[in-house]
Structure formats: structure tokens, C-alpha cells
Symmetry: C5
């Protein structure tokens, strides 16, 4: 359990269900990756064939980090992707199933 | 359960009770949608006929994302709406009723 | 239960204990109200005759929203007030007494 | 229980253990106090004779508020202090000992 | 238990497992250290030989503090490090193992 992190690169959607871990994922932080472009990069989340939802918008040299508070279950079929020129690093942590928070 | 997201468009209030899901909704993030206007967009929440309450104010090219921490019950009759030119994406997650957090 | 919100107007302190609701109040967000003044507005909280404590400082066109994480009990005798020209919208949610979080 | 707040003034460290309250303290918000200086003010926390740790850095007219999420136990011997010209207001809440969160 | 803090210095990775404490660590805040450089400093977290993940990016005189919400278990073999010229202060708190949150 414990720490979780991925780098989501432009034009490379990152499907969550490929992680093969048990338990609930808490995604709590997004940070802009390296690069020289000053265009903003937007993190979005897609579920099946529904329209993607924007999760945050990171502005180089202004706001390069953003707190999130999202929970994903093992069977959520979602994918993270980036609109914009720079990658976005996501971090968070796993919580065990079945009352792991309590015993 | 798991991830929840909607795009609230200007002049199109989004009633929460139309989602037909069971359990408690946590709304945790608001992000400005695409567009070229540099005017700010404000997210507000209305309950019945009371005055709407502003939940956040998003400023293009300055602060385009905002963390929230709001809980809505199944029987809350609220509606989200936007004052301003651009849509606002809301995201969060559902938590099961009846101790789902504990077992 | 569920959503809670008030608009605190300049020179009109809002006593919390007048709300007549049962349970614990979580105040989680403050957002600047409408207006043309570019002076900052500060939200403060007073308890009895002690000096008020500033909870956040909102800057027009720079930072118009602020996440909070405050809990108030039914018998807390506090009042919210604003220093500055524009009102501040507060939002949050109620949590039931007696283990409502757990059953 | 409920709301907690102090104003930490420059050159006047505020020892936490002087508060004489029972239970766990959650410090959740820091806000810059009044003043005309535009120099930044940094909040720091000292434990015994270890080097102080910076908790946040507040910038006048840019970022005057900061969310925190810190917990202190009754027997933590810490002191808050400010580096810079203006005071910093801290706020948060107390949580009862012994499962107060659960019963 | 209670408060935790470290200063992570440039070119001096800080391994978490050297802390020799029991229980879960919550890292909740990052703040830029002193210095005159106006270059940004990025906090990253490494696990084993995987690519490091950026946790936040701090910009002098713009955004010098950042809220985090990360959990680390006793057996997480991670290291924090800084890319950039200035140190980053991390703070948070420990939570006891085995239901310490509940009894």
C-alpha cells in the first residue's frame, strides 16, 4: 500500500485499471512536468464513452501544482489524459479494502 | 461508486437530484472549461428558493482550478450553475450509504 | 443535513448559533462576492469577547476563493464577519451527531 | 471543543502546550495579519532544540491565506513563530480524545 | 506521535525509512526554504528504481507553499528530493498503527 504516482504524458492516456492493485486509490496531487512551453496543460478523466471531465488546469510559472481529492475503486474504468504540451505528474496513496482504515 | 464528474455550462443549471445515484456525493474539485474569454466564471449552488451561494470563482490564466470539500445527500435538492462566460467542470466521488466507509 | 451556505456581508456579523440546526458544521469554502472594489476582504471569526481571528483574506482578481477546514459544534458561540468592501460567501456541510459518520 | 484560533505575532513565539486543553488540535488555516509591509511572513514550528520547520510562506497582495492540515497531541511540545514583519492568524479545531470522533 | 517535519535540501535526498518511527506518516505541507534564487524548486518522490514523481513545484514570490495529502507506510522505501536551488520544508503528522485513530 502507501504511495502511488504516475506521470501522464501528452497524447498518452493512462488507463487506471492497468495498475492491478487492490483497494481504493486516492489521487491527491497534480504537478506540471518539465518543459519550456508556457501554454497551460489540463488534466482530464474519461469514463467509458462519456465526455471527459477536466480535473485541473496547470499554468506554467503561475500555478504548477494543484491539490486533488479523488477516489477510484478497483473496478472504475477510467483513463487520465493531458490536453497541452507538458506532462502532469499525479500522486496519491492506496487504502486497503475491507476496513483497512479501521483495524 | 467511485469517480463522479459533470460539466456545468453557462445558463444551464445542473440539478444534482437528477443523477439518480445512491449514497453521498463528495464534490472536491472545480476547473474552468475551454474558451477564450478572460472574464471570470463563478460557480454557485442554489437550494430551493433561497439566494444562491458562491462556491468558487475561477480566473482565466490566473487560477483555473479550485479545491472544494462539499457533501451532498441523496435528498438534497440543489442545483449548480455558472455566472460568467465559460463552463466549469466539477469532479468528486460517491461514498456508499450505511457505513460503506467502514466495512 | 447536507449542504450549508451563507453570505456574510460587510458590517453585518453573522452569528453561527442562530442557525438552529443539530450536529456539527464543517465550513470548507470561502468565495468573494460580487462588487467592483479591488480592495481585499478578510473573513474573521469572533468568540465571545476575545480578539477575532482571521480565517482567510480574499484578493479581487487574484485569489477570490479559499479552501477552509473548520468544525463548529452546536454550542460554539461564534460570529463570522468581514473586514473590507465585499461580501464573502461561506459554504460547507452538516454532519449528524452521535456517530452519524459511522452508521 | 470546536473552533480554535491564535494570532502569532513577530518575535513572540506561541508555545502550543500553554493552551491547557484536552484532545487533539487540528490546525487547518493560516492567514496574514494586518500591516503595510509587503515583505513575506513565514510561519514556522519548533520542537525542542531541533531546527524549526517552515509551515507556510504568506505573500502580501499575492497569497495571504494558506490551508494547512496538521495535528498536534496534548503532549507535543511545539512552538509556532513568525519570520517576517506581519503576524499570522492560525485557526482550526479540537477533536476529543478517546474516540470522540466515533461515538 | 503528532507533528512531523523535515527540511529537504537540494542534492541531499531524504530517505523516508530512516526515520525509525512506527505508524503511518501523513505529509500535508511543503514550503520553500530561505534563499535568494528566483528559480523554481520541485519536490519529487522516488520509489526504488522507478522514475521519480513530482509532488509539487514551488515558485519564489508567487507560490511558496503547497498543501499535500500523502500517506506513507512504515515499509514504504521512498526518498524525497529537490530539483532546484532552494530547500523545501515538509511537514505533517504521524498516526498510530492498529486503529489509533479509533480508540
Amino acid at each position: 500500500m502507501g504511495f502511488w504516482g504516475v506521470e501522464v504524458k501528452p497524447e498518452k492516456p493512462h488507463p487506471y485499471h492497468s495498475d492491478n492493485v487492490e483497494g481504493k486509490l486516492h489521487v491527491t496531487q497534480a504537478t506540471l512536468g518539465l518543459g519550456s512551453s508556457t501554454e497551460k496543460s489540463i488534466l482530464q478523466c474519461s469514463i467509458g464513452d462519456r465526455n471527459p471531465i477536466f480535473l485541473c488546469s496547470l499554468l506554467p510559472n503561475k500555478n504548477e501544482s494543484c491539490s486533488l481529492n479523488l477516489e477510484f475503486d478497483e473496478d472504475d474504468l477510467v483513463a487520465f489524459s493531458v490536453i497541452g504540451p507538458r506532462s502532469i505528474h499525479l500522486s496519491g496513496y492506496f487504502e486497503a479494502d475491507g476496513g483497512g482504515h479501521l483495524r
